[in-house]
């Protein structure tokens, strides 16, 4: 033993140990964390919120050009009204139908459960621009497309209402999020409580309503925030859908929501209408502020708000708990899932199957778009990991708990801010700093900003679920903080890191709004999809729709594989825990 100890004293000779010594010094570590925080603030947070500064610097312009112009204000309020109206209504529907579905998944044991889970997640694989097209093909009026496959539209002629088409679109983009968050929390609530209530004489419905539901308010909050943010943020799918149902190029007089308005005005601004700047920034500022306000409101409301029905109707609830009622409920839920979510999401496949491949697909643009998408997503994910992991460590394990809490909240902001507004803000930020050109770099930075929360959230979650005893023990056994991370923490939270990386990657691949609002010149695959639809909607050419469909297929397959991969690694994480 003493001999061993004597040798340990001699252990520090090779260069790797000296390097380790340097990295383990408190000062060096502190500086490292400081740098990460600085990067987060200057690369993610400030660019995301930069446009807000225009409220002060450009207030005069806003007053004279925007506030004083009732026509402009009408456009802005209509767009914002449509955005929030759709977001609330969709979130409401998601809740109504997501709750029984989540319940079904968590509380029932049946064969093919994991298949059902995968199916519910599958719309997430389709880029939202693709969902926009697909949903309209199923539900909507398309004035300029002959020869389309029969869908729900053939029953009633199809809807041309912007509100309804956006609601239908966002059901496909948000429903999986709602089911996921509700199921995740439900899974953690001990069944014991409900069993105890049932044994005390409560019917299934009464027990669920009075015991379990109040316990997962935080799940409701998470689900609602995810859905609201997603619905408010979406740009590409919205522009594609609105273009298709109106049959003409979108302009400020079309029915638009907030993000589409940003997209349209940004297009005109880029084309030289510089007088639009105050209106463009003002609508972005409003979208950002309202979204942040909404985030706070939902959080406070769901935590303060008690589900108010303490009253119990024993016989009525008992009757609803068995027999036909639960079957009707489950039937309605699955009908909703199939008709409102799954079929519309993949209906483009029906179009692809019934129309013939046509000549003249521009394969150069096609492959360039895909390469660009994957390249940007890979680069953004790499930056996310590089900065996100240390930041997550700081949040979950830092000495200053308050700093961790503040960072934890700030990290969510880029997720809440509608990505079109985020892209615009970021573009202005870097142009203001004198950086011009480098469009691809700026787009990548925008993608870093809105994907960053995925990595940090997941890694923080992984760290919080990890027993601190492992690190403590590793340290007492002689491991430097860096060694403890590399040899113990990292291998144990790898599934969380991977899950975060895959989420960030897939989100980046499907993004349109942030990309076009940073730069009109970076034609990633989802941007191409929207452009195919929008360039000349009055003569919507089957070739363009077909090429868009091909792009959607490639992106969907890649993303779907990524989702399967994520399910695989997260399942392994659960097994190890």
């Amino acid at each position: 033993m003493n001999e061993a100890k004597a040798r340990m004293g001699l252990g520090g000779t090779d260069w790797r140990r000296s390097l380790l010594d340097v990295f383990s010094r408190r000062g060096v570590r502190g500086t490292g964390y400081g740098l990460v925080v600085v990067f987060f603030i200057f690369l993610v947070l400030l660019p995301t919120l930069f446009v807000l500064s225009y409220l002060f610097t450009g207030w005069n312009d806003i007053q004279t050009v925007v506030l004083a112009d009732p026509a402009k204000m009408d456009i802005i309020w209509n767009a914002i009204g449509l955005s929030f109206g759709v977001a609330f209504f969709v979130t409401f529907l998601d809740l109504i139908f997501g709750l029984p579905l989540a319940w079904f998944i968590v509380r029932r044991n049946f064969r093919g459960k994991s298949l059902l889970n995968t199916i519910i997640d599958s719309p997430l694989a389709v880029p939202t621009a693709g969902l926009g097209i697909s949903v309209v093909l199923f539900w909507g009026v398309i004035p300029n497309l002959a020869n389309r496959p029969a869908g729900a539209w053939s029953l009633f002629g199809g809807t041309s209402s912007p509100f309804w088409i956006l609601v239908l679109l966002h059901l496909t983009t948000t429903f999986p999020y709602m089911v996921r968050s509700l199921a995740a929390i439900l899974d953690e609530i001990d069944l014991e409580y409900e069993t105890a209530a049932r044994i005390s004489g409560a019917s299934k419905l009464t027990a669920a309503r009075t015991i379990t539901l109040p316990m997962f308010r935080s799940g409701l909050a998470t689900g609602a925030i995810l859905c609201l943010a997603k619905a408010l943020s979406e740009t590409g799918g919205v522009m594609a859908a609105l273009t298709l149902i109106s049959g003409r190029v979108l302009d400020e007089n079309s029915a638009l929501n907030g993000t589409a308005l940003i997209g349209v005005w940004k297009g005109s601004y880029d084309a030289g209408t510089s007088a639009l700047l105050p209106a463009l920034t003002f609508v972005s500022v409003l979208m950002i502020l309202f979204s942040l306000l909404l985030l706070v409101l939902v959080k406070v409301l769901t935590l303060k708000f008690h589900i108010p029905w303490k009253k119990v109707w024993p016989s009525a609830e008992a009757r609803l708990s068995k027999g036909a009622a639960p079957r009707v409920r489950d039937g309605a839920t699955f009908f909703f899932l199939a008709i409102m979510v799954l079929v519309p999401s993949f209906f483009i496949a029906a179009y692809m199957a019934t129309s013939s491949p046509t000549q003249g697909v521009d394969w150069g643009m096609f492959t360039n778009g895909l390469l660009l998408s994957f390249g940007i997503a890979a680069a953004a994910t790499a930056v996310d990991l590089l900065l996100g992991i240390p930041l997550a460590v700081l949040i979950a394990r830092g000495k200053f708990k308050r700093l961790g809490g503040i960072l934890d909240t700030l990290v969510n902001i880029p997720y809440i801010v509608p990505s079109a507004a985020l892209g615009l803000s970021l573009g202005f930020f870097y142009r203001n700093m004198g950086i011009r050109g480098f469009d691809i770099l700026l787009v990548t930075l925008a993608h870093v900003a809105f994907t960053f929360p995925f990595v940090v959230r997941n890694v923080v979650g992984g760290l919080e679920g990890l027993d601190r005893g492992y690190e403590d023990t590793a340290r007492t056994l002689g491991a430097r903080p860096f060694q403890a991370f590399r040899k113990i923490i990292f291998p144990l939270i790898k599934p969380s890191i991977l899950a975060g990386a895959i989420m960030a990657f897939t989100r980046s691949i499907g993004e349109t709004g942030a990309t076009i609002s940073v730069s009109g010149n970076v034609q990633t695959a989802p941007v191409l999809i929207v452009n195919y639809i929008k360039q000349d909607p009055s003569t919507l050419r089957p070739r363009d729709l077909y090429t868009a469909g091909l792009l959607i297929a490639v992106l969907s397959i890649v993303t779907f594989v990524a989702i399967l991969l994520m399910r695989f690694v997260t399942r392994r994480r659960r097994k190890n825990a």
Partner: protein, 367 residues
């Protein structure tokens, strides 16, 4: 000299006192147990020595060197947590090799050390297993081997036997002590199990509300407790109240409203209120017609069969607290619930303490 020396160490959590200015010395090669009820501050104390928690005040010295400001990895000690914290993604072999490896020992020495330690705990043949494939006892031994392979001479054990079932706990506690003694390791063993503490340690420190109540050899803390709390916490004790009349070299004489008591000598002065304590096994049940000093009557309310022993719970006019007596099974066979018995306490077994500041009942609370 790998002794542990704590000087005025104190810690608060959110304003609540966890450790209240403790001074403590663990001698070189000593095996000391820290014993106390849940929430007494035992684990906090251990974590401050290990460097996992920073004390608000005071110093930690190991081998004469002030390590208060050093991070855990530079303190040259080994720590074993309640749950062992075996690294789940590493084999037994790599778990045990962890410490020498991160300390930069040459691979040959690392392997030799790991082999020796696994041999010592009898797990060399399970070196390729993952921790979750091992039984509780094996996990505990792996954790011990890993701690010992750190090559340090100070071992901190936080409830090392807690997660094991009763029989295994009894089997393993002496083997930990033997290993430490064989290797000449200074050990600090935290536990809430009094029997374990008394059995395994050279000296026992009884800690409560963040303070050391008493420190001494197992025999001392059991037979000569410093106050009612320790008297009751180790084993079981009965309490009576009285007022001191006379204190001499041989004994203390006291009285209550109803009677006189004769007890051990004490440092109390005449006129002072006192509490008398006796370990349950030192209360004698008198046979019919037998006479003794300090006799009193009690009525049996409960009779508990404990295998080798019979436990009796009684009420008596002499005290408001229940009187507990422990008899050998054959002695207690005849005594039924509801029957009246005469009890006696030999003066040399009767301890005298001043009334604790918060009153006796509060003092005896085990939270």
């Amino acid at each position: 000299m790998p002794n542990i020396f704590l000087r005025g160490i104190a810690k608060r959590f959110d304003g609540r006192i966890a450790i209240d200015h403790i001074d403590l010395e663990v001698k070189n090669g000593e095996y000391m147990a820290i014993l106390g009820p849940t929430g007494a501050g035992k684990t906090t104390l251990l974590r401050m020595i290990a460097g996992l928690t920073q004390p608000d005040e005071g110093d930690v010295l190991i081998g004469g060197k002030d390590v208060t400001k050093l991070p855990p990895e530079e303190r040259e000690l080994a720590y074993m947590s309640q749950t062992y914290s075996l690294f789940p993604h590493l084999h037994v072999w790599d778990n045990v090799r962890f410490s020498p490896e991160v300390k930069g020992l040459p691979p040959t020495d690392t392997d030799r050390l790991a082999r020796e330690m696994l041999l010592l705990v009898g797990l060399l043949d399970r070196r390729d297993a993952y921790p979750k494939e091992l039984s509780g006892g094996m996990q505990q031994r792996t954790a011990l081997a890993r701690a010992l392979a750190a090559g340090t001479n100070v071992l901190l054990l936080d409830e090392p036997l807690r997660a094991l079932d009763a029989r295994l706990r009894i089997a393993l506690r002496l083997s930990i002590r033997k290993l430490c003694k064989d290797l000449g390791v200074t050990a600090l063993h935290v536990t809430h199990d009094q029997e374990e503490a008394l059995l395994v340690a050279d000296r026992v420190a009884i800690i409560r509300h963040g303070k050391i109540e008493q420190l001494g050899l197992s025999r001392q803390v059991y037979n000569d407790p410093v106050g009612p709390f320790v008297a009751q916490f180790l084993g079981e004790a009965d309490f009576f109240l009285g007022e001191v009349d006379v204190v001499t070299q041989e004994k203390t004489l006291l009285h209550s409203k109803t009677r006189h008591w004769e007890a051990r000598p004490s440092k109390l002065h005449p006129g002072q209120d006192a509490c008398l304590a006796v370990k349950s096994e030192n209360v004698r049940v008198l046979k019919d017609g037998e006479d003794a000093v300090n006799t009193f009557e009690a009525e049996v309310t409960r009779r508990l069969f404990l295998g080798k022993f019979i436990g009796l719970e009684m009420t008596s006019a002499e005290t408001t607290l229940p009187v507990k007596v422990r008899l050998r099974a054959e002695e207690g066979e005849q005594i039924k619930e509801g029957s009246k018995v005469r009890l006696a306490v030999e003066p040399r077994n009767f301890m005298v303490f001043p009334i604790p500041p918060g009153g006796l009942a509060k003092e005896l609370e085990v939270e």
